[in-house]
């Protein structure tokens, strides 16, 4: 593993290799065509980022030959600028449109009547109903995305390096009274400037960085960001969060920290979280079952008496998004493979005490794993001195 960070878009060969893998899976599953509407799957195969809105973008993958991409005419220059690879554009003028000129009219031309067609789990009903042939629900592209190429690993290394730099800056500047606005105008601004310096043509549609924290009063409620005027306080636990996507590749790093002192009630949950985290790293090796990892991690919390203080699974994957499958989650049976990425972020949440969670972006290697967000994590290191 001596891959270096990369921040430039993929070469054509990378895109061809992705398409070849998808087409090989289609062959194996007996599919003639595959229909992708999910913006992340479209991005994975084309490098073109879009929002799903009322003018459909629909990617049609034939079992052999080049991609066909149904797009609004308005977007042709945009698609041409960003897409990489040999893609046939099939355009329609507008949505809505008069009969005979709609996107569905163009779409139907692409399939023979007796085709076997794979359709994603997330396909909107209105697209599903227009798919000709025999429809089979299938998530081939999502499956392909789970194991990363060397290029993709290098992109996530870049994103993780920058997130780690951001987290170091956030922790270095942490002090009572520090507000979310200040953190954003310092740490997030540093990251955005770095991104735009390293690749000035960065696609803002596939770039979205969050830099936030929760102070002790609300860190037990991990999705609570109602008060955007919140500030850091003496004590803790605070939970700091940096995640998002940078020109199409994601990362995440989170740290639980204290300012000046650690309340007595916080010591045991912190230590338990660290034990659960160590268990997750220990079990994150090729061949293990992802659901079983989560089960054993949860067991650590349950043995410590925190069975009722769990709010989420051990981790989620990362790739062309910051949050995707596969998952380290009980009930999710998938075998860990080298080249997978996921967060390790077991957490425990005690109302009146706070939330305890570190998150790392972890790459599964041939014989183990490696955190790409190697920020400090021990209670000693996470107890930050009070500075003026």
């Amino acid at each position: 593993m001596d891959l270096k960070p990369i921040f430039t878009p993929p070469e054509t060969s990378e895109m061809q290799s992705r398409l070849a893998r998808v087409q090989a899976a289609m062959e194996a599953q007996g599919l003639d065509y595959y229909v992708a509407v999910c913006a992340d799957n479209v991005f994975y195969l084309t490098n073109f980022a879009n929002y799903v809105h009322e003018r459909p973008f629909v990617l049609v993958v034939p079992r052999s030959g080049r991609l066909q991409f149904v797009v609004p005419q308005l977007e042709i220059p945009h698609v041409t600028t960003r897409s990489i690879g040999n893609i046939e554009l099939v355009s329609y003028f507008e949505f809505p449109a008069p009969e005979g000129e709609t996107w569905a009219d163009r779409f139907e031309e692409l399939f023979p009547a007796d085709a076997m067609v794979g359709v994603e789990s997330t396909c909107p009903l209105q697209v599903y109903e227009e798919v000709p042939g025999t429809r089979v629900r299938d998530d081939i592209i999502d499956d392909m995305r789970m194991v990363k190429s060397d290029y993709e690993i290098s992109r996530i290394i870049y994103a993780s390096d920058l997130a780690t730099k951001g987290m170091s800056q956030l922790l270095a500047g942490a002090k009572p009274g520090q507000s979310l606005m200040e953190v954003n105008s310092q740490v997030k601004a540093m990251m955005m400037i770095q991104i735009l310096t390293d690749y000035p043509e960065t696609n803002i549609m596939s770039t979205d960085v969050s830099v936030v924290f929760q102070p002790p009063g609300i860190s037990h409620d991990p999705h609570n960001f109602t008060n955007i005027n919140m500030v850091m306080e003496e004590g803790g636990p605070h939970v700091s969060i940096i995640n998002g996507i940078m020109n199409g590749y994601g990362t995440e790093v989170e740290r639980t920290f204290f300012l000046g002192h650690v309340p007595e009630a916080a010591k045991k949950p912190y230590q338990t979280m660290m034990e659960a985290r160590a268990k997750a790293f220990e079990l994150s090796v090729p061949g293990n079952d992802m659901g079983e990892v989560d089960r054993q991690v949860n067991e650590v919390f349950k043995k410590a008496g925190y069975g009722d203080n769990l709010l989420h699974r051990t981790g989620h994957s990362i790739g062309v998004t910051g949050h995707e499958g596969p998952f380290l989650a009980e009930g999710y049976d998938r075998i860990i493979e080298p080249g997978m990425f996921y967060t390790i972020e077991p957490g425990v949440y005690l109302p009146g005490v706070g939330g305890f969670r570190h998150s790392d972006t972890v790459l599964v290697t041939a014989d183990g794993n490696r955190s790409l967000t190697p920020c400090p994590s021990s209670l000693e290191e996470m107890t930050l001195p009070l500075v003026e």
Copy 2:
């Protein structure tokens, strides 16, 4: 029409009235239940904003009685903080989850086996397949959203007033060399500060303001924002754009402008755009057909010889999003009603000359219409003096 701007969340009575309208439509259409996954429709009925991701939020509307909302346990405090009205939360622990504990297991409990269930056009296949009973594709909530309540009108007045103020500031500061970054750090920052001052608990998940422009070299390609380092130039046409949502309600204003002088080749397309725009305002009265408005507007361009220079419909609606149906688009047959909102933004695009488009947020009134974004629009007013 003497409604005043409002920026606070709706009262319970407003939410009850929306639910009552949806339930009356369900009664009329013989539906026992209606399933909403679309985040905008969920927001409309609950005031809770979410992103659609792998942990489903599914709103179930019964023909009578209160809403049932299937949510991940992790999000309960968040849902409780933001939602308004009498809503029963039906929670599941996590996704993925062991058999018997999944979101779909909880979801199924809500329906009798013989129910008639309405499902949205945008419903993801994986939710659609879990819907019990007889499924009927229907877009009742989208239909209800098309005609606004007085409260909603007041919210869009607020958003439009602020966008108009932003556009005035953008135009007042326009000069050669002015960059997108500067416009953002001045105009967008002013708007965000105003928003957070007027309502400090503003929901960032339902707030997203864009302030951008296109210089003459690319304004013929209206969705081209590839170069985020672009700057204003002497001459034109530039197209400036302010749109987005502010704590859940949208607006849009766009202006074509020149710096110092108007190139000769720009005069006829500008004048034609103004004629098309006047035609759209003239025809925007209750009782007219929306597709026919677009057809007649396009006719103005075609008569002037610009039939091959059209890239989009005359307008889209605005509500809990900045971009939604109904549409002023050929082939879209819906009758204009008082209380509808849409943009009027006919445009014409000439490579080598530029793009010509103003956009206004327009409210249909009992006997006509009213622009809520009354920025100047004439060529004389849009030819801005060169200042130091």
